[in-house]
């Protein structure tokens, strides 16, 4: 098994842990860049959607995985980003200005919602975000002068300096660019002092406070960043959907985002991406295997949600570290192949620990 033995301080904050990583990620990026040449427009559209969800999932992972604040209402931030972007475009703002503005507006809303996080945490915070998401969904439906209400709002095609970005290839590259940008931004933020402070807040608020970290400020800021990233994803999602209705941003989407970060593995950006890929491809996969099933099951409506539940339950019960932990184990197996010991990752028996203070 590979352990990181650091001999310099700079190794602790290196962007790539090993030289091989540079090669691997470079190859991956190159493959993604040439993919449009071989794939059909349908698959490019699907991939763009996967990238958008990856961005949203990264946003939530930053909050839940690295700051320890659970949010069950991130679909609301996607919705705000999407509607703000569509509204700015309709007012004639150029596309490259409208998208960051929408993200910034979402970040401001995120900061406002993060303020209760100073007073409450854990389950209580999850409740606040859940309630917020439901309220946003209703407000979008009722505020029809801006959002088009339940009838919906058409989104103008993205344009950059007179070029249209609405074709599948151009949109694919746009989404890829945003995803890589967000990923690098978050990676760099996390290896900075701020990122370390956030992880400190996650692991022990009291200890972080004692070390001089401004706990409340960091918590609220994390909410803002996370909401901003999700607003960015929402802006892109608006182009993918082409027509916005409140039904597109229900509680189910929030729960899907939470599913992505949990199944991916909390506390790892790689996990966020893996989880988003799995969850966004699951419906397609289910519709592919449906013809193989007996009619009585495949014709029914609830199969999809059942499989979602099943996958989540299996991960929570048998692999709490998510896809990321699975990947690390696989890598350890390959690296130490003949010498791999089965007990390397054995989970210790755990007992009921109360989070109540008596």
């Amino acid at each position: 098994m590979h352990f990181d033995y650091h001999t310099r301080y700079s190794e602790g904050t290196a962007l790539f842990k090993r030289p091989a990583d540079k090669l691997a990620y470079g190859l991956l990026l190159a493959a993604l860049l040439v993919l449009p040449a071989v794939l059909s427009p349908f698959f490019l559209g699907e991939l763009s959607y996967v990238f958008i969800l990856c961005v949203a999932s990264l946003g939530l992972m930053f909050l839940t995985g690295f700051t320890g604040q659970v949010s069950l209402g991130h679909a609301a931030f996607l919705a705000i980003g999407a509607y703000a972007h569509a509204w700015f475009l309709a007012r004639g703002l150029p596309w490259p200005l409208s998208l960051p503005l929408a993200a910034m507006l979402t970040a401001v809303v995120g900061v406002l919602i993060g303020i209760p996080a100073i007073r409450v945490s854990g389950l209580y915070l999850a409740m606040v975000t859940l309630a917020f998401s439901i309220i946003v969904e209703q407000v979008i439906g009722l505020w029809s002068s801006v959002t088009g209400g339940f009838t919906g709002l058409a989104v103008e095609d993205p344009k950059l300096l007179g070029w249209s970005l609405s074709g599948p290839k151009a949109f694919y590259y746009t989404c890829l660019l945003v995803l890589v940008g967000v990923l690098l931004g978050l990676l760099n933020l996390l290896r900075s002092a701020t990122g370390r402070a956030l992880v400190g807040v996650r692991d022990s608020e009291a200890a972080a406070y004692a070390l001089g970290i401004h706990v409340q400020g960091h918590k609220v800021a994390a909410f803002g960043v996370s909401a901003g990233v999700c607003g960015l994803a929402g802006g892109l999602l608006a182009h993918h959907l082409k027509y916005l209705t409140p039904d597109g941003f229900t509680l189910l989407l929030s729960l899907e985002l939470v599913l992505m970060v949990v199944i991916g593995g909390l506390g790892s950006l790689r996990g966020a991406v893996l989880g988003a890929i799995l969850i966004s491809l699951l419906p397609t996969a289910i519709s592919r295997i449906k013809p193989l099933l007996p009619d009585s099951i495949s014709k029914q409506f609830g199969l999809e949600i059942f499989v979602f539940g099943l996958v989540l339950a299996i991960f929570v019960l048998f692999e709490p570290g998510g896809l990321n932990a699975r990947w690390l184990k696989l890598r350890a197996l390959l690296q130490s192949f003949p010498l791999y010991r089965r007990d390397t990752f054995k989970r210790q028996k755990r007992y009921m620990k109360s989070e109540r203070y008596k």
Binding site: L123, V258, F308, G309, S354, R356
Partner: protein, 293 residues
């Protein structure tokens, strides 16, 4: 109708719906106190109960009370087994794992119900559907009276059960300190599963009573969210708080539907939830809990 009559009618409707919220909240708080799992699948136990009641009453033609009894027994058994085989495995993991696992179970239950029964809404009749008496200009539905009566009966039964029976006291002990309870000879695992069964019974009663008011529909699970709002308002982890909070949320919703602008009925409960958590996170009757560092 005069202003006062409208108000009285709203109050009555609010108490009837609030009683259901209180029942659901009661089930959630029982499980939370015993196992520290916040049961997001509780609303889906209601869905399962409502659809089974529909099957027994509208399809199999059983009388209402027999169907109620069967559904209560069946759903209690289901939630006992859920705890014994699934939930128990994550003991010791952070609270978040419990939330995720129950959400997963909720998805699976909703999926199965939808696959077996189909997603369309339906209804079944009770002996009280459509009957009402008029007292001083206010229509009192008999169904509402039955709901109130049953909620009251369930609450009183629980109170007596927890106060005066060996099993009830054992449940209290296990929820306060599992290790100490275990050392005193309480079979903690089984007791916890029994708490789940009790909560399941609560959900079954609530589901069978709520469905005739709304519809037998998959969206019944949303009542979980209303119940959570009720819990926060009453004070999380407090049994009397759950009841008071449930009744208050029911009333607030009814009043908001008439006295506040359009659309506020649907979000009133959630606005209250946010306001309570921001202003007074312990709720009305909650005990202050610090967090272990």
């Amino acid at each position: 109708m005069s202003q006062i009559e409208v108000f009285a009618q709203l109050t009555l409707n609010g108490i009837a719906v609030g009683a259901i919220y209180a029942l659901v909240a009661l089930g959630i708080v029982l499980i939370y106190k015993a196992t520290e799992v916040l049961n997001f699948a509780h609303g889906d136990l209601l869905v399962v109960s409502a659809f089974s009641a529909w099957g027994l009453i509208a399809v199999a033609g059983l009388p209402f009370w027999l169907a109620l009894l069967l559904v209560v027994l069946g759903v209690s058994a289901l939630s006992y087994l859920l705890d014994a085989f699934v939930i128990r495995r994550i003991a010791g993991q952070p609270q978040f794992a419990g939330v995720m696992l129950t959400i997963a179970l909720a998805f699976m239950m909703r999926g199965i119900v939808s696959m077996v029964a189909g997603p369309e809404a339906r209804n079944y009749s009770t002996p009280f559907t459509g009957q009402h008496s008029t007292v001083a200009g206010i229509a009192i539905g008999h169904l509402q009276l039955v709901i109130l009566g049953i909620t009251l009966a369930v609450t009183v039964t629980f109170f007596l059960f927890f106060r005066h029976t060996r099993l009830g006291v054992a449940m209290q002990a296990a929820s306060q300190n599992q290790l100490a309870a275990y050392l005193n000879g309480i079979r903690v695992k089984r007791v916890n599963s029994l708490v789940w069964a009790l909560a399941g019974a609560c959900a079954a009663v609530a589901g069978v009573l709520l469905a005739p008011i709304t519809l037998v529909d998959l969206t019944l699970w949303f009542v979980t969210l209303k119940a959570l709002a009720a819990l926060m308002l009453g004070g999380f982890g407090s049994v009397p708080g759950a009841i008071v909070g449930g009744l208050l949320i029911g009333l607030i919703e009814q009043y908001a539907g008439v006295y506040l602008p359009d659309g506020s009925k649907d979000i009133a409960a959630y606005l209250v939830l946010i306001a309570v958590l921001v202003v007074k996170p312990t709720g009305l009757l909650g005990e202050a809990h610090g967090r272990r560092v």
